[in-house]
């Protein structure tokens, strides 16, 4: 009888721990993302990275930073491809300006943000994330054809919005 009872208690403890652990990491993603203005984007980005299941808030910030960088590299490649075949000088100028913006995001903003998160000095991550969002915005604004979107609108929007998410999550670390 005692054997059964102890077995029962053991299993109950195991279940309890398992469920709290398995739901708590989902919970952390949800509670963290609720504090950003792009909840769905935030959750999708985090959940598609396996590191998120064991990450703390600092780790979640790192995942978002990596995602901004990945999206920025993809957008930069898009811009370069467009530059290869561009004929319109106004468009060419805008694209060249965007190269500068995206190089800043990839070589300055994101490395500083990651460094600041790792070294536990989050205000510099907040600052860099803000700048990354501003750079993407500036790139989008440099295209002449209003009110329609630029040829790299989805890239600019993704990088901008994710930068804002990064800014929000890094603010939680202050």
């Amino acid at each position: 009888m005692t054997k059964i009872i102890s077995l029962f208690i053991l299993e109950a403890v195991f279940c309890f721990t398992f469920f709290t652990v398995s739901y708590s990491d989902i919970n952390l993603i949800q509670t963290t993302c609720k504090k950003t203005p792009f909840y769905d984007l935030c959750v999708l980005t985090l959940k598609s990275d396996p590191r998120s299941s064991t990450a703390d808030v600092s780790g979640l910030a790192r995942i978002v930073a990596d995602s901004v960088k990945a999206k920025a590299i993809a957008t930069l490649n898009q811009i370069s491809a467009l530059l290869n075949s561009v004929k319109d000088p106004t468009l060419e100028k805008a694209l060249e300006g965007c190269i500068v913006s995206y190089n800043t995001i990839i070589q300055a903003d994101i490395p500083v943000a990651i460094d600041a998160i790792e070294k536990n000095n989050p205000k510099f991550a907040v600052q860099s994330a803000t700048d990354a969002g501003n750079e993407a915005q500036a790139c989008e604004n440099s295209f002449a054809e209003k009110p329609s979107n630029s040829p790299i609108f989805s890239g600019n929007k993704a990088v901008h919005d994710l930068s804002v998410v990064l800014q929000s999550i890094a603010s939680l670390l202050l």
Binding site: S22, G97, V126, Q127, D131, N134, E135
Partner: protein, 646 residues
């Protein structure tokens, strides 16, 4: 009676059971329990599977989000507020742009960018700088150390830069004082302060970020006390001397202060931290800077203010016009507690009373306590630190001024950040509530050609150009006289909501303001930075004066910060309104009412540069005429350069 259950033992008539009976009675329970366990296990595996698949519905929602992106404008990020407390406008100097909407990035050319470099503010030859560290005066030299990235114009790889000066203005760069060469500061040689001991020796306490990212306090001292330049520094071999105490997070323990003597003859320091969202200052006593005892109580704490960085603690005299050595205490002395709030990137101070016996401090006015009241500076200004200058018996304040342009521009121009001109700090005897900051007198030695303008009348709604030659390196001292009749006649309003930050800037016309100066303005006023007063009259007849600096029209470029800074400034009966402005290319330091309210801003014009920059007086009030008298001086460069032949 028939045996209804042949499996069950025949129970004895008195209800008692024996051991054998128990075993057979439990069998159905065993079955039930086993089935229960089985179901539980199945349930667990099911949960495990579901968890790993992830919910499918998120993809659908994301697609909806994409589908609804019709307009070009991104969701305005200026609606974004940090979760932690902070004022409505801008968290950091790199805040989400106020006018990010419609204008493209500005094509900065080398002429515009190279013009931005300052002529007489401290900055290294290139790359990134932040907090001032360990300022001191020793053997005839002022020493200045600073957080520095030797490798890039962005934060990172932080080490201690070093420079010396005879007069706090003409600086000579020296080699790096300390680099990240130990396990206990591998991730950053961060901010610290100097203490000069009884025998004149110097000890430096600074925060190191260890290889594990833990914040610890380390001791360092000059390698050669006879070297007046203090070029080489030695780290105490058994660092760290302090590690985060129980209950304090490993990332919430940094920026040790200069030490002061207690009445027991021990040295005492304070270190900022936080517990949840309450900003606190921890207190430690030491005799040798190696062994410390933490006091049970805190120097002070203020809920909701978040992490306290760069805490500073110092005495001010209520009666004398000189600074006080950090250990001074007694009658006619108040103590200032200052903290840099991580949450909103602003420096706050409060004046109060220190109790040496238990190492605590209470503010004179709890409603304007540390972090919720007065700021050193209402513009771009952070991580400030004072030191006692025993040479001239004054307390001198340093402050880090970051950039408010884009990082792309910083990378292009190859540098970021300057320091403010060092300021003397005094208790404002007239108000009793404020500190006064004023540029150190040595700055006057940079004045070249001066020009005086007396009693210039500025009608309501007018702009008056000032005929001075160059307007990018200037010292301006101006006084404004207002018609007291106009003040009396003005109708009071019950709308008490004016705030520089949320106002329409210098373009918003009020009955009694704005009026002041336009600096870094081009002839056509297509670019201008107004520094001005704005007065309001309450329904009770009480006048309030605000001192503001408006960056909204400062540049045609869209990738620079365009916020408006400023605050209430106390004006006492009989006082004229006064402004001092130091213009030095891309930095403007503005002092209202003798330094009662100070605003530092970074400005990046594209047209109002070099010879095209001008200065104007302006009065955009509707019911007030103003008379201004002012002196302007061209300012020489300070020729900040490496120490020769070192």
């Amino acid at each position: 009676m028939a045996d209804i259950n042949p499996l069950l033992p025949v129970s004895s008539s008195d209800g008692s059971s024996n051991l054998t009976g128990q075993a057979t009675c439990r069998r159905p329970i065993k079955v039930v329990v086993s089935i229960f366990f089985g179901l539980l296990t199945v349930g667990l595996f099911a949960a495990l599977l579901i968890r790993n698949n992830g919910p499918v519905d998120y993809v659908d929602v994301h697609e909806n989000e994409r589908g609804s992106l019709a307009s070009t404008a991104f969701e305005k990020a200026e609606n974004l507020k940090p979760v932690s407390r902070g004022p409505a406008a801008g968290v950091s100097e790199k805040s989400n742009w106020a006018f990010g909407g419609d204008l493209p990035d500005y094509p900065w050319n080398n002429s515009m960018l190279s013009w931005q470099r300052t002529a007489f503010h401290f900055q290294p030859e290139k790359n990134w700088m932040n907090d001032p560290n360990g300022p001191l005066f020793y053997k005839g030299w002022y020493h200045f150390f600073y957080q520095y990235n030797p490798n890039a114009p962005v934060w990172g790889d932080i080490v201690w830069g070093h420079a010396v000066s005879k007069d706090l203005i003409h600086w000579l760069h020296l080699p790096l004082a300390m680099v990240a060469d130990q396990w206990y500061d591998k991730n950053g040689v961060w901010t610290g302060s100097a203490t000069i001991l009884h025998d004149g020796k110097i000890v430096m306490l600074y925060t190191g970020s260890t290889t594990e990212g833990v914040q610890v306090q380390n001791l360092a001292y000059p390698a050669d006390q006879y070297d007046p330049l203090l070029v080489h520094w030695v780290k105490y071999p058994r660092n760290p001397v302090l590690v985060p105490p129980p209950g304090i997070g490993p990332n919430d323990f940094r920026d040790p202060t200069t030490a002061w003597l207690t009445s027991e003859g021990k040295w005492r320091i304070t270190i900022g931290s936080k517990i949840n969202k309450t900003g606190i200052a921890l207190v430690y006593d030491t005799k040798d800077f190696i062994n410390y005892e933490m006091l049970d109580g805190l120097l002070h704490a203020v809920p909701g203010t978040g992490m306290w960085e760069c805490v500073d603690f110092f005495p001010v005299s209520e009666t004398e016009n000189n600074g006080l050595e950090t250990s001074i205490n007694g009658h006619g002395i108040k103590h200032v507690v200052k903290a840099s709030l991580d949450d909103d990137r602003h420096d706050y101070y409060a004046i109060g009373t220190y109790n040496d016996r238990n190492g605590t401090w209470i503010p004179d006015r709890p409603n304007i306590d540390v972090g919720i009241g007065l700021r050193y500076d209402y513009g771009i200004y952070y991580a400030a630190k004072t030191f006692y200058d025993q040479n001239k018996k004054r307390r001198v304040l340093w402050g880090w001024i970051g950039e408010s342009d884009s990082e792309a521009a910083d990378v292009k121009k190859g540098w970021a950040s300057v320091q403010s001109i060092p300021r003397t700090i005094l208790f404002d005897k007239k108000t009793g509530t404020h500190l006064l900051q004023w540029p150190v007198e040595e700055i006057d030695s940079l004045r070249l050609k001066g020009k005086e303008f007396n009693q210039v009348r500025i009608q309501a709604g007018s702009v008056v150009p000032l005929d001075i030659d160059s307007a990018t390196q200037l010292d301006i001292i101006a006084e404004f006289k207002i018609d007291s009749d106009a003040l009396d006649k003005a109708t009071g309003s019950s709308d008490a909501s004016f705030d520089c930050v949320t106002s329409g800037g210098a373009a918003e016309r009020g009955a009694l303001g704005p009026f002041g100066l336009l600096v870094l303005a081009d002839e056509r006023l297509s670019e201008q930075t107004p520094v001005y007063f704005y007065m309001t009259k309450g329904s009770d007849g009480n006048l309030k004066t605000f001192f503001c600096s408006d960056q909204s029209q400062s540049s045609k470029a869209s990738d620079v910060d365009k916020h408006i800074y400023g605050s209430l400034v106390p004006v006492l009966r009989g006082e004229n309104l006064s402004i001092r402005i130091l213009v030095d290319h891309s930095i403007i330091e503005s002092f209202g009412q003798g330094g009662r309210t100070v605003i530092t801003s970074r400005v990046y014009p594209t047209k109002a540069i070099h010879g095209a920059a001008k200065v104007f007086l302006f009065n955009n009030a509707t019911e007030l005429n103003v008379t201004a008298s002012l002196k302007t001086w061209q300012m020489n460069s300070a020729f900040i350069q490496p120490y020769p032949n070192l």
